[in-house]
Every structure is written in C-alpha cells, then in structure tokens.
C-alpha cells in the first residue's frame, strides 16, 4: 500500500528529533525513548491508523455539522447558555450526536492500536531480537503503551479542538471559560476511555498468540460491554424486582437501581454517563429522581464542581480500570518466558 507522503515526513521528523536530542549525550541513550519514538512512527505511518482516524473524524464532523444546523431551533427556547458544548451532545435530524459516535468508535480506535502490539511482534520474530538487546523489558511495554497513548491524546485533542472551532464559527457564539474547561475535561475523559480499550487490547495481544484471536476477542468484549451489558442489566433487574402493572414505587425504584448498577459495570456506560454530565450542565442527577425530591428545586445548571462531583466515581472507575488492566499486562509481559 502506498504510504502517504505527509506521514512519512512526520516519521522522518520524529526520527530526526530523536537523534538530535540524543547526540548531545553520546552513548548514553534512553531505551524507553527509542522504543517510544519507533512505536510512535509506526502508529502514525500505519494505514490502519489513517483509516480509523478518517472514519472518526468524518463521522464526528458530519454529526457535529447536523447538530449545529439543528441547534438554532433548540436554543431559542430556554437554554441559550453553553451553546458550544451542547453541540457535542445534540443529535441532528438524522444523525446521532458527536459524543455517541466517539463512544462507539473510540473503543475501536483503542482496540485497533493495541490488538497486535505484542503478539504481532512475537509472530514476526522481532520480539526475541528486541529482547536480546541490552534493554529492560519495562521499556518495551511502557514505550509501546505510551506511544499509543500519545497518539490517542494527539488525535482526540486535534479532533476536539477542530470541531469546537467549527462550532464557534458556525454559531458565532464565543465560548465561556467554563465551557472550555468542560470541553477539556470531556476530551480528557475520552482519552481515558480509549486508553482503557487500548490497555485491554494490549492485554489480549499478550494472552493470545494469534493476532486474529486477540482482535476478535477485543471486538466481542466491545460488543458485549456496549450492547449486551445494558440489555443484560435490564433482564437482571426485571428478574430480581419484576415491575408488574401494580408494582409499588419501591420495587420500581429498586428495579431501576439494579439495572443501573449492573450496566455501570460496563466502561461504555460509565463513559456515556460521564460525558453527558460534563457536556450538559442541565443534567442534575444520573439516578432515578422521586417527585418529592424535585419539588421545590429550581431548574438550572449545575456548576462545574457539582457536575464533577456527580461523575467522580465514573472517572475514578475508568482510570482505575485502565491502570489495573495495564498493570496486569505489564506484570505478565515481564514474567512471560521466551520459548524455543
């Protein structure tokens, strides 16, 4: 496949940059940086990355564009604040919202980057050669993960800022400081979410010998968490607290709670809830609300710190999940034995 000239330029640039930095301290180089730069160049020049980035950018922009066309009608009524960030969550006439696309395609990006990170090298025989060099194994696994994470950060920020810029031009509404912070937090959250899938994909690539197996397993997990867990959650809830026609309020409440609790085991649910809360300040709660709780409440926006407080468990959960999975991968990789 023809390599894109622009990308190979980036690759050259990165390599040159790397060599400049190192020529200062001759003979003592940092293997982590070497692995990092090599992996980064690989990622950026790979066709796979190009296709996925194009896909997510195109769908993102199109959904954002249709949301921007629709928001004129929506803003006239009550809420004229937070126009910019609401563009991310508003769905257009025929297309789902930007955040929906990111929540669906984000895992795919993470998976595609990581599914062959380790077994791909093992199969091509480069892993043995790599490990026969005088470097610590930590540097290999860390370099691989960090390079991919860096690409995720680069990609998410580029896409987020591009779309936000487009939004400002299209609506003509300048963003407030809080909007910018909320947007940044949302982008950060998206990065963590994709990093979770990246770490999971790398773990799978360590566990399975074949790249096809790890890719398929990753995709099944993705489908399981984003589609089946919510369905499963409802089924479990209905089994424990069946909601019949004359069910009392408490049963209904428990039913919702169980369903929500189970579906929150899925990182997809955590991410969607957290991103909606961040980008729609009018979301005041994520659980069921009783009428008496609403009674007397003044409808309005949640301040940023309150929004954050609402989704703090979500963020912690996602970060912890990512770290735990990467930790397992790291340990297994360090202990993995090279066999004849």
């Amino acid at each position: 496949m023809a390599k894109l000239p622009k990308l190979s330029k980036i690759k050259d640039f990165i390599q040159k940059k790397g060599s400049k930095a190192d020529s200062e301290n001759i003979e003592s180089t940092n293997p982590l940086a070497t692995v990092f730069l090599k992996e980064l160049a690989d990622q950026l020049s790979s066709t796979r990355f190009f296709i996925l980035f194009s896909l997510i950018t195109l769908t993102g922009i199109v959904s954002f564009y249709s949301a921007a066309s629709n928001i004129r009608g929506a803003t006239e009524d009550v809420i004229s604040n937070f126009v910019l960030i609401r563009l991310f969550t508003t769905s257009g006439s025929s297309l789902p919202s930007f955040t929906w696309f990111v929540s669906i395609l984000g895992p795919l990006v993470g998976l595609s980057m990581g599914f062959d990170a380790i077994n791909g090298e093992q199969n091509s025989g480069t892993m043995t050669r790599l490990l026969a060099q005088p470097i610590y194994r930590d540097d290999v696994i860390n370099g691989k993960f960090l390079a991919r994470l860096f690409v995720l950060v680069l990609m998410t920020l580029a896409l987020g800022f591009f779309v936000a810029g487009m939004g400002i031009i299209m609506t003509g509404v300048p963003p407030t400081g809080e909007e910018v912070i909320r947007l940044l937090l949302y982008l950060g959250l998206s990065i963590v979410y994709m990093a979770f899938w990246l770490a999971l994909a790398m773990l799978l690539s360590l566990v399975f010998r074949q790249t096809a197996t790890s890719a398929l397993c990753g995709i099944s997990l993705w489908l399981f968490f984003s589609i089946f867990v919510p369905i499963l959650a409802d089924m479990i809830a209905d089994a424990i607290f069946p909601v019949t026609k004359n069910a009392d309020a408490l049963t209904q409440l428990y039913n919702v709670r169980v369903s929500q609790g189970v579906s929150r085991l899925s990182p997809s649910t955590l991410y969607s809830e957290a991103s909606v809360t961040l980008l729609s300040p009018n979301v005041r709660t994520l659980g069921p609300v009783l009428l008496e709780q609403v009674y007397g409440a003044i409808s309005g926006f949640l301040p940023l710190d309150q929004s954050l407080l609402l989704i703090w468990p979500h963020i912690t959960g996602l970060v912890a999940g990512t770290l735990i999975i990467f930790g397992i991968t790291y340990t297994l990789f360090l202990r993995q034995e090279i066999r004849a």
Partner: protein, 323 residues
C-alpha cells in the same frame, strides 16, 4: 590458541511442564572457538541458547557467560552477546538500514556512530544496494545477512547463531558460512552455532557437541569424535557385476569382519584403518572394475546418526527400566 573458558554450564536443566528440554547439561566453550551445537529438531538447542542469553530462566543448574550469570546479570550479558534467532524477524515496513538503526539505538550507540557503523556492516554483509529497500522485499538469504549485521552492531564478544543456514540455498549458505568463519578466525569472536544441518557446520566448527533429547552425548573435534566412535570401518563398494563378487576372498583379508551383499552394493565392515586400499588391491588383482567406493567412518553423518541412535537407545532403555 586460547584456553580461557568463556561459556560454562553446570548441570543446566530446563523443564517445561512434563518435558525436560535440557537435561543436566555440562558444556564448556573456550574463548575464540567456533562451537557447533548439533542435534535433531527439538533436542533443546534453542532452549539452551535462550538460557545462555538470559532470555529464559533455568530450572536448575548454573551458567557463566564471560564470568557473568545470565539469570542475574541479563543486561550485562546481552551487552556482550549477539544473538541471531532461527526465525530472525525484522520490521517489514522499515528498510534494512532503519532496522539496523533501531538496534543500534537500543544498544545505546549514538546516531552519528551508528550511521557509520551500519554503513560498514552493510558493505561487509553485501547488502549495500538493498539497504534502502523495505525488509519485506528481502529474500531469506538477505534477511540472514541482515541478521548478521544486526548481531555485529553491538560488537559482541560472543555470538549465538541459531540455525543460521536454515532455508538458504547452497550459494547463500556458503556466503554466510564465509562471514561466520571470518568472524571466528580473523576477529577471534567466540561463536556458538546450533544446527541440524551437519555438513554445512562441519566445515567451520573447531569443536562440535552432539545434543540429543536435552543431553550432550558427545563433544570434541570431528576427528576426535570419529576416533571415539571406534575403529570400525564401513566401506561401500560397487563393482560392474555384483553377482561375481568375490565375497570369500574379501572376507579372507585380515581385518575384515563381515561382508554383506545388498542388491547392487557390498557393505564391508572391518577394524583396520587402511582397509579400503587392501580391498581395492585385491579386487584389481582379480581384474574387477570398481564403480564406487566410500569409506563412511569419519563422516559426521555417521557420527551423528550413531550418537543419535545411541541417545535414543539409552532413552528407551531408561523408560523400559522405569516401567
């Protein structure tokens, strides 16, 4: 020459589950020698090399590589040892030069020096013209030569080559062996070659070790091994008409212990070293034309198959006893 021992293993054992890949191996390799580790597939050659490199941990036993313990000082060992695995892999998307550059950087060689060195090595292994092509387009022989360049980048004292000639055509094999021989003889590097292709390795090894089922069944130079195997000579002989072969006369020659006539060949076994000339003389005296004659004793193939079968026999005997 050199008598300094550079690699030494004591009772080295590696067990994978129920399989003993390497079984109480005692191996010593002297500095500057080319040592051939010979054995059939699955004999534990690669496992041994992996343990010597510190890539795999021994179940028991000890290893010294240039005075270092690969288990505890893996990084120091990897600094002085170059390893070419049997399925040497390169990044297909990168050029030969880029692949080498990556290795050089991992070895902490500064970019400037790396470029110079890579240039030298590419010329040396004859890959100068192909150096800017992607490795994906390389032939097997080119990959192996790139592998040698890759190993030499770190300027190793010791080189492990795992099945270096596997899958190469005769021409490629010869080129590769020439490079290896030069490294060993001219630059005094210690080289350990593992192979099951005896004829190729026979030519360049100072000493060989025959490895069967995780055990070293024989060590020594080719001629030593030939002596060790005993003075029995096996001679293959073909004459124009085998039906009139003078079996009794040949048997009467002192030293001949048996004569077997196969379809078109006579197999003569005997004790004395200069049996062949005697037989030839006897046949010529009888005016019999000799079409083919081969003395098989000093051939590595025989040594190898002999030890191989011996090793297997022992193994079978042991399991039989165990039962």
């Amino acid at each position: 020459m050199h008598d300094e021992i550079i690699i030494e293993t004591r009772e080295l054992t590696k067990v994978y589950g129920s399989i003993t890949a390497v079984d109480h191996l005692n191996l010593t390799i002297k500095k500057g020698e080319i040592f051939g580790l010979l054995g059939p597939n699955g004999a534990g050659k690669t496992t041994t090399i992996l343990m010597l490199m510190g890539l795999s941990e021994p179940t028991s036993g000890s290893i010294r590589v240039a005075g270092l313990d690969p288990v505890r000082q893996a990084l120091s060992v990897k600094r002085i040892v170059g390893y070419m695995p049997d399925n040497m892999g390169f990044y297909g998307d990168l050029t030969g030069r880029e692949n080498l550059f990556y290795t050089a950087r991992l070895n902490g060689i500064s970019p400037g020096r790396a470029k110079k060195k890579i240039e030298e090595l590419l010329v040396r292994v004859g890959l100068k013209e192909a150096s800017d092509r992607r490795v994906r387009e390389y032939s097997k022989g080119m990959r192996q030569r790139l592998g040698i360049a890759d190993v030499l980048l770190k300027d190793p004292e010791i080189i492990f080559l795992d099945e270096p000639t596997l899958g190469l055509d005769p021409e490629g094999t010869k080129e590769l062996l020439d490079i290896i021989l030069q490294l060993g003889k001219k630059e005094g590097k210690t080289i350990l070659i593992s192979s099951h292709l005896l004829h190729q390795v026979q030519a360049i090894c100072d000493r060989v070790g025959i490895f069967v089922k995780g055990k070293l069944v024989a060590v020594g130079s080719i001629s030593d091994l030939a002596k060790e195997i005993g003075s029995e000579q096996v001679i293959e002989l073909k004459t124009r008409d085998m039906s009139v072969f003078p079996t009794e006369e040949i048997k009467a020659i002192p030293g001949v212990s048996s004569v077997e006539i196969h379809e078109d060949m006579a197999i003569i076994k005997g004790e004395e070293q200069d049996l062949a000339p005697k037989i030839v003389k006897a046949l010529v005296a009888k005016d019999i034309d000799i079409y083919h004659l081969r003395a098989r004793s000093s051939d590595l193939d025989d040594i190898y198959s002999r030890y191989f079968h011996e090793g297997e026999g022992k193994e079978n005997g042991q399991t039989a006893k165990a039962k």
